[in-house]
């Protein structure tokens, strides 16, 4: 279990630092059957997700993770569900936006990929 927590922490650190510095670098985290739902709009597949992430209309973005939790999503497979809440600072806006994001990670060889990625703003 401790292992899952470490994976989650490592994943989240990598995901957001990559998102904030080089969004194109996120593509290898997804597979062709991966699904990203950004504000209720579903996008499937590496190419579409890459396009979607890179096309998000903010030039500068910074994530600050406030809470992070992780659980196995199945007793049989080493997949896990990671829940994050945090702050999103967009283009030097003074008011950070609260967001909530859920990842379902599936093992693939020695690493993990993102099977589902659900993003929502929580305003506030």
């Amino acid at each position: 279990m401790a292992d899952i927590n470490a994976i989650a922490k490592q994943f989240v650190d990598f995901y957001y630092s990559t998102f904030d510095t080089n969004r194109a670098g996120l593509a290898p985290l997804y597979r062709d059957h991966s699904m990203l739902t950004f504000e209720g709009t579903p996008t499937q597949g590496v190419a579409s997700i890459k396009e979607k992430l890179e096309g998000l209309p903010f030039s500068k973005v910074q994530h600050k993770v406030t809470t992070l939790d992780a659980q196995p999503s199945s007793p049989n497979v080493a997949s896990l569900i990671v829940s994050v809440t945090g702050l999103l600072l967009v283009d030097d806006s003074e008011n950070p936006l609260n967001f909530s994001q859920v990842f379902q990670l599936i093992p693939d060889g020695s690493s993990y990929y993102v099977f589902n990625d659900i993003f929502r703003l929580n305003y506030g």
């Binding site: 927590n5 709009t41 999503s73 199945s74 809440t85 008011n95 950070p96 936006l97 859920v102 929580n122």
Partner: protein
């Protein structure tokens, strides 16, 4: 209700008409020549399955996705625009044409190309059908001829032809509008070959029914116990699919809050909005009724008698919660925590939450005692922990806009699970204060004889992660551009106003209502009231109906002001 009619794209008519023509019902009219009798389909595409989740998984395209896909297919997949190089002697093409025309049932718009090698004409002209010596080019010739049939072909059967994906690469190009397709008893082996038929998801977007029974891709999957994965793969690949291998994929019908047309902003978000539009709830691949039923029962029990939930959690289920104690910046500006309209917010206390075992890995770090101790496993242990958490009240029968759902079917062993995320708010009963939350469930169908099933749950919880946050209103989930900052310009008082028009000008009850609005919207409301004389409620309605665009709202007011009752005004 979420329905295809809500979405543009002009697809619905075609799909509906497809419902009347079922490929395999038609095959019964064929003379007996095929080696294998095709499977008869169930009589209804929406026959109730015994297992609520096992056969779900239809990705329902959103309006945006659908428009985009149609645009692509409309622009680039005109059959006539792609010439086929016909190297065969003219005679062969004519022979194939005669064959295709003979096999076409124009009334049913159904082209039956079953067992081509056994056809009298094929033998007579010594043709080589694809799969029996013919190449993908022969197949392309046939598909092109099929695309020229009048009226346009709707159903196609290619059963019993020894076909592989390679031979079908041109199918989607020439027949992009096909509604029903049977590839029964062929040689399609894997997903790669499926990708040859539909290289991208925007191909064959009208396909409602697909039969792959008798192909290695399906039979091997079932043999290896991966039937659910196979179905999920197909459903993700053919996004409009309703029936696969004679089993229905239930479409969703969820009473999620949908923006009315007037809420959909016309113009691009301006600099004062979050540069991405907020979408409504997204529920796919599952009958919304199952989600509703589960959530209703779950939260009712959660609020009244938590030990009843023991049955809902799998014996291996995990539960954890974390408290996000920060006060969101905007909520602070709006003053939710100190608003006179919400006097109980001040009485809220995080103490119980934090002491009961908040599992925020970001905070407790690597402390194994906490990371392990705060992850609760199995129904018995979970309900014990739940009993110690503060009593709650979720207003699930209240305004639907207070909750926002995202859900996905995910493969889970032999069956399908459902990943469900819900955002919303609840009242802490002891203080009456309101908190916001995000909660993610991993649900699986309750198996026969399981504790969940015996307790009347259709689904069992495998994982439950709950994040409790300071209240930040449900404005975030309202569709359309999200205002993130008040702008000085818009909140300026109307020119010529002797006195700045402010919140003080409103009666007390309206002041309270205004106080509950995010600052940016509150300023717009005050502005509208100042310029129109409307009261706060009508001003909010007017702005909501005009995508929170001040000038549009004023223009709209000027159009209808004659018809407004006296009580619409201050």
């Amino acid at each position: 209700m979420r329905d295809a009619t809500d979405n543009p794209g002009g697809r619905k008519g075609k799909i509906r008409s497809g419902r009347t023509t079922r490929i395999l019902d038609l095959t019964k009219d064929r003379p007996s020549g095929s080696r294998m009798q095709p499977i008869r389909l169930s009589t209804s595409a929406h026959a109730g399955p015994s297992d609520p989740l096992a056969i779900r998984g239809a990705a329902r395209p959103t309006a945006v996705g659908r428009i985009r896909r149609n645009a692509v297919s409309g622009a680039s997949v005109q059959p006539s625009a792609i010439p086929v190089r016909v190297a065969k002697p003219k005679q062969a093409v004519d022979s194939w044409r005669e064959f295709v025309q003979k096999r076409y049932n124009a009334e049913a718009k159904y082209l039956n190309l079953d067992s081509m090698i056994e056809d009298e004409l094929v033998k007579k002209y010594n043709l080589t059908p694809p799969g029996h010596g013919g190449t993908s080019r022969d197949a392309a010739v046939i598909f092109k001829l099929a695309s020229q049939l009048k009226p346009e072909i709707q159903s196609l059967s290619l059963a019993n032809n020894n076909l592989t994906g390679t031979l079908l690469v041109q199918l989607g190009r020439y027949l992009p509008n096909i509604v029903n397709l049977s590839l029964q008893n062929n040689k399609i082996r894997d997903k790669k070959e499926i990708s040859m038929i539909v290289p991208r998801k925007d191909k064959m977007i009208h396909l409602r029914e697909l039969v792959l029974t008798g192909n290695p891709i399906r039979e091997l999957a079932y043999k290896n116990g991966a039937g659910a994965t196979y179905r999920a793969d197909m459903v993700r690949r053919f996004t409009s699919l309703e029936v696969l291998d004679q089993e229905p994929i239930t479409q969703i019908s969820f009473d999620a809050p949908q923006p009315s047309a007037s809420h959909v902003p016309v113009e691009k978000p301006t600099a004062t909005t979050f540069p991405f539009e907020v979408g409504p709830s997204f529920v796919t691949g599952v009958d919304g009724a199952i989600v509703s039923k589960f959530l209703t029962r779950f939260f009712n029990a959660f609020d009244s008698q938590r030990d009843l939930l023991m049955g809902a959690y799998d014996t291996a289920a995990t539960f954890s919660f974390s408290a996000n104690t920060s006060i969101p910046a905007r909520a602070r500006v709006v003053g939710f925590h100190s608003s006179p309209a919400m006097p109980n917010q001040r009485k809220l206390d995080w103490k119980t939450w934090l002491e009961t075992g908040s599992r925020n890995l970001n905070r407790i770090g690597g402390d194994p005692q906490k990371t392990l101790g705060n992850l609760h496993i199995g129904g018995e242990q979970i309900v014990k922990v739940l009993a110690n958490l503060p009593p709650t009240r979720h207003d699930i029968s209240g305004p639907p806009e207070k909750f926002c759902l995202d859900s996905f079917p995910v493969p889970h062993g032999q069956s399908m699970g459902l990943l469900l995320t819900i955002h919303g708010e609840f009242t802490e009963v002891s203080s009456g204060g309101i908190r916001s939350f995000d909660r993610t469930f991993m649900l699986v169908p309750a198996t026969e004889g399981s504790r969940a099933k015996l307790n009347g749950w259709d689904v069992a919880i495998l994982s439950d992660q709950w994040i409790i946050r300071s209240y930040s209103s449900h404005e975030a989930w309202k569709a359309g551009p999200l205002l993130v900052q008040a702008t000085g310009q818009q909140s300026q008082p109307a020119p010529g106003a002797a006195q700045p028009f402010s919140i003080a000008n409103f009666p007390a009850d309206q002041q309270a209502a205004l106080a509950s609005l995010p600052e940016a919207q509150r300023n717009l409301v005050i502005e509208v009231c100042a310029r129109t004389g409307l009261n706060a409620k009508f001003a909010v309605d007017c702005l909501t109906g005009n995508a929170w665009d001040l000038e549009r709202a004023i223009a709209n007011f000027n159009q209808v002001k004659g018809s407004l009752a006296r009580d619409a005004f201050l």
